[in-house]
Amino acid sequence: MMRIHRQRRAPSAPGTVPRVDPRKHEADTRADAVERSGASGLLRRDPRKDKDQRLRRELHTARATSRIGQNTHLPVAPQRIVLADDVSWIVVVSLSEEPWPDAERELLGAAHRVADEIGGGVIMVRVGFQDPATDLGQIGADRAVLLPLMTDPDALAAHVVAVTEHFNARHVFFGEGGADADVARRTAILLGERPATSLHLLSSERATFQEAGGRTEVCRPLPRVATLAPGRFDVYESGVAREGRRIEIELDEKTSGVRDLGAVTASQLDAPLDEARFIVSAGDGVNDWEAFRGVTEALGGTLAGSRQVVDAGHLPRHRQVGASGTLVEARCYLAFGISGAPQHLQGVQRCRYVIAVNTDLHAAMVKRADLAIIANAQQVMPALARLAGGQADA
């Protein structure tokens, strides 16, 4: 069963059926539930059910993280979905390469705190690659505007402004970092707003940031455009799903005086570690160095290693990841035969995805990994190189 909580009901046109995600279980019964509750109006939370659901959710995540083997279908707890209609909007903008691992979720969390204060909803503008595994409603989006990949920040800012004006949004939030910070400032210029940047605290009235190199804390009224500092805001509580309804918006072609001539295609193998987007890293569990280099090259990754292998002379010192090496910010870190000592894990803290190939089921690296494969690196490396290489020829 599902409960619907409407923030404010807009008179819905007769015959319109609210969106239901067909990929979800029990889609049919849910569709019924939506219509029924739509007719009966506002439903209140039942605190006892809420608690029950929270417990089940915890159980669910506990099982999900400890399971072994192929993905299995777990019983899905009934979910409450909150609908927002005809409310004040806050726009959050996320480029697909987030400036830090949880940027998108932190933005949605912060935006919802403000939205709750003003009785509003959150529109997520997501640019470029869309991860099919992420349900935007689950991570806190009431509405979603999906834009194609755009490398021109001026064009992107113009589109963000179009969305902002279309919804007459009160605020637009960005992550402070990378290309997101650039688009934020261009958006502010287009809107004629003075943005608050790198916020540490936020409410519907006030924005707090630091100046004078972190010595002074400044409090100003929350402006229309703001950027949020990393790691300062709780992510959206994912137990309560939002609608995540996709909105299509007509956008004009934009041109600017900057032409993108494409990625600098020099081999990524020896790219500086602190810039590398995809790092393939070796630990003591690797002894076939030719295969290691081969697989890194075939995947277009950048070489790195643990201190152990650097000390042993297999890689130069500037290839060492970790507390006494480089703290990397790669989008993905593929670790072959690395145990995941604390000094090493510190170096990969800001990586979005970690893949571990290790013979030891209990290695710390395996616990940290988003995808862990218990196997011999010496066998996986050539197989992976062959598959990836064969693909490049195709």
Partner: protein
């Protein structure tokens, strides 16, 4: 092209621990970039000529810095810079990404580009070529592949923290260089003066494991080929590598 006219904007920084004034590290990278393009770039600073931090820049090989304004606290440097740049009509204006003192919102290059009608590209690691009407530059962000851009001139270019480090400073040069003061009125930043300020409090960051993905998978007993397939699928799903080859 004929030697491009290069202007570099310099602010003074503050050492985060000692609080002593020094050159701003980001602006020093912009100056390094300027010195590689032109032996005598024009350097502008709005502020107070008595600030010892400015001498650090002279030590890098500048002959002079133009210091604009009669500085008082709470000034707004943008109108003054805009006015001077409109007179100078440069091909390129180089800046850092954000000052390391003051509001440090990083808005100055954006406001200048807007005010002057120049193009603006941010986070640039190097300038490869200057052609008659455009510059070819390399843009770099952490965790991203570098991109090559062609930007029409005149343009404002903000130097990335990934740009080459500033050259060593020579003490004698930092003494010899001159600070040319041009007195003028610096506008007040009235809005910022109404904001409440207090000494910063320590606010711990939120603790996060660095990932909230609940769908982490642990796979045992796969053949090497199956393992390789799973890794490739993951990399493609997350857009780390493209669908087919390139």
């Amino acid at each position: 092209m004929r030697d491009p006219k290069v202007v570099v904007l310099l602010s003074v920084g503050m050492h985060p621990v000692s609080g002593r004034t020094r050159m701003a590290p980001g602006d020093a990278r912009a100056l390094e970039m300027a010195l590689r393009l032109s032996p005598h770039p024009i350097a502008l600073h709005v502020g107070d000529a008595s600030n010892t931090g400015l001498r650090d820049y002279l030590g890098m090989g500048l002959d002079a810095i133009e210091v604009l304004g009669i500085w008082t606290d709470g000034g707004d440097i943008v109108p003054t810079l805009c006015e001077r740049l409109a007179e100078l009509k440069p091909d390129l204006v180089l800046s850092g990404m954000a000052a390391d003192a003051g509001e440090a919102s990083g808005m100055v290059p954006y406001l200048l580009a807007h005010g002057l009608g120049f193009r603006h590209v941010s986070s640039i690691a190097s300038i490869e070529v200057i052609e008659p009407n455009e510059a070819i530059v390399i843009q770099a962000y952490r965790g991203a592949t570098r991109r090559r851009l062609a930007v029409q001139l005149p343009a404002v270019i903000s130097a990335s923290e990934l740009a080459p480090a500033p050259r060593a400073r020579a003490f004698a040069r930092s003494r010899r260089g001159t600070l040319q003061v041009t007195a003028g009125i610096v506008a007040k930043d009235h809005e910022a003066s109404t904001w409440a300020r207090a000494p910063a409090r320590r606010r711990p960051k939120k603790i996060s494991a660095g990932q909230t993905a609940s769908d982490s998978a642990l796979l045992v007993g796969l053949t090497p080929d199956e393992a390789a397939h799973r890794i490739l699928d993951f990399l493609r799903d997350k857009n780390i590598i493209q669908e087919s080859g390139k």
